[in-house]
Symmetry: C2
Subunit: 229 residues, 2 copies
């Protein structure tokens, strides 16, 4: 396993840009830092939503599963992302999804009361949260738009999205280790189909995978697949 990097200081997260240390202290009042192992759930769908969360290190996946046990991945979250903002202000808040750690990760649990009292009344934060929501909604709609497209289009789109979200420089390695199963769960297909597709891509020299790190070799080719007929 890769040695975990040092956690980013909380004050330096983009969401707290331009705030003073004392203000940040107020915003995370009562907060607890938790560390989770690979596959460990941070919370489960149905649990009382007592905490708003901020990812400090690593990544998580937000999933739902149906009666047959198939998992659908709704969203990946990573450094600086927020979780469960929408559900906080609801009476009898219940998490609608299960949140599972990908690799060794860390998150800051902020009590619901702190969030409701401090965050909602803060215009800049409110706007920031709004922007995050807008982007997530947008992404879900984009994926919905591709629902009828062939599998390759959907997978290409997913990979491009994951890269773009954390494109620090021209980095062409996916920012988080991801299994074929998780890709399948994300685009709504079977593992075997994803494996066959990615094997083809590998032999065509479009991607390269090492363990669970996926590297894009021919970005333009993936983009072409996205716009495909």
């Amino acid at each position: 396993m890769v040695a975990p990097r040092k956690p980013t200081p909380i004050n330096e997260l983009p969401i707290f840009q331009g705030l003073k240390a004392e203000q940040v202290q107020e915003l995370i009042r009562g907060g607890i830092v938790v560390s989770t192992k690979h596959h460990e759930p941070l919370f489960r769908a149905g649990d009382p939503a007592s905490y708003f969360l901020l990812v400090l290190q690593g990544a998580y996946k937000l999933v739902r599963s149906d009666q047959q046990g198939h998992e659908s991945i709704m969203c990946f979250v990573s450094l600086g992302d927020t979780i469960a903002g929408l559900v906080m202000s609801r009476p009898n808040a219940i998490y609608p999804v299960t949140c599972i750690s990908i690799g060794q990760s860390m998150a800051l649990k902020i009590p619901r009361e702190t969030y409701n009292q401090e965050w909602l009344s803060h215009p800049a934060l409110q706007q920031h949260m709004n922007a995050i929501l807008y982007q997530r909604m947008n992404r879900m709609q984009d994926e919905r738009l591709h629902q009828r497209a062939p599998l390759q289009t959907r997978v290409a789109f997913l990979l491009l999205n994951l890269i773009e979200k954390y494109s620090s420089g021209a980095d062409r390695v996916l920012p988080l280790p991801i299994t074929r199963q998780e890709i399948a769960d994300s685009v709504g297909s079977a593992v075997e189909s994803v494996i066959r597709l990615m094997s083809d891509w590998t032999s065509a020299g479009i991607i390269r995978t090492e363990d669970r790190r996926i590297e894009i070799l021919q970005l333009d080719e993936l983009i072409r697949l996205t716009n495909d007929e």
Copy 2:
């Protein structure tokens, strides 16, 4: 065509429950009531998002289309629903979807500035908007969960959702006239498939359709299809 009913007075919309007439006046300052004919767009994806909208009568569909001209219906909205709340607070706001009238409809266009100044600072409204967002996000996730399910499951789920959303009493007629094409665009399939499915359901006595009004005869049967293997 059915004769349009009288529009509900704006003050009586659920979203304004408990507010005084003067307060409501403030909230809709600069608002314009517009009437749209069947198929007429209220705004298009890409237009500058200058207005927040409130549906006063009839219904609209929010759609996106891909390169090949396939339309995906993201959401149906009806009496009392709000449109474009999330995009208002963004700099250079652009509508991400196209909004098309279903039948003769009416909406109240509220200037972006009014929304940003009045609505966001009002705790009760903020909470109400939050709830709407949460529900929509939830619904999108539910549909995502059913993505792998057979067509019949997805259509059954859609119909049940549409009924439930406006279940005034035990009404089993869909609250809005909807074509097979629109059902297909909603669940991400081809018209022909939807038609074949619904023909089967009709001969099985599960549903009945007259023009574009769909009536559910055997609700339990639809529910069973939703939970289907």
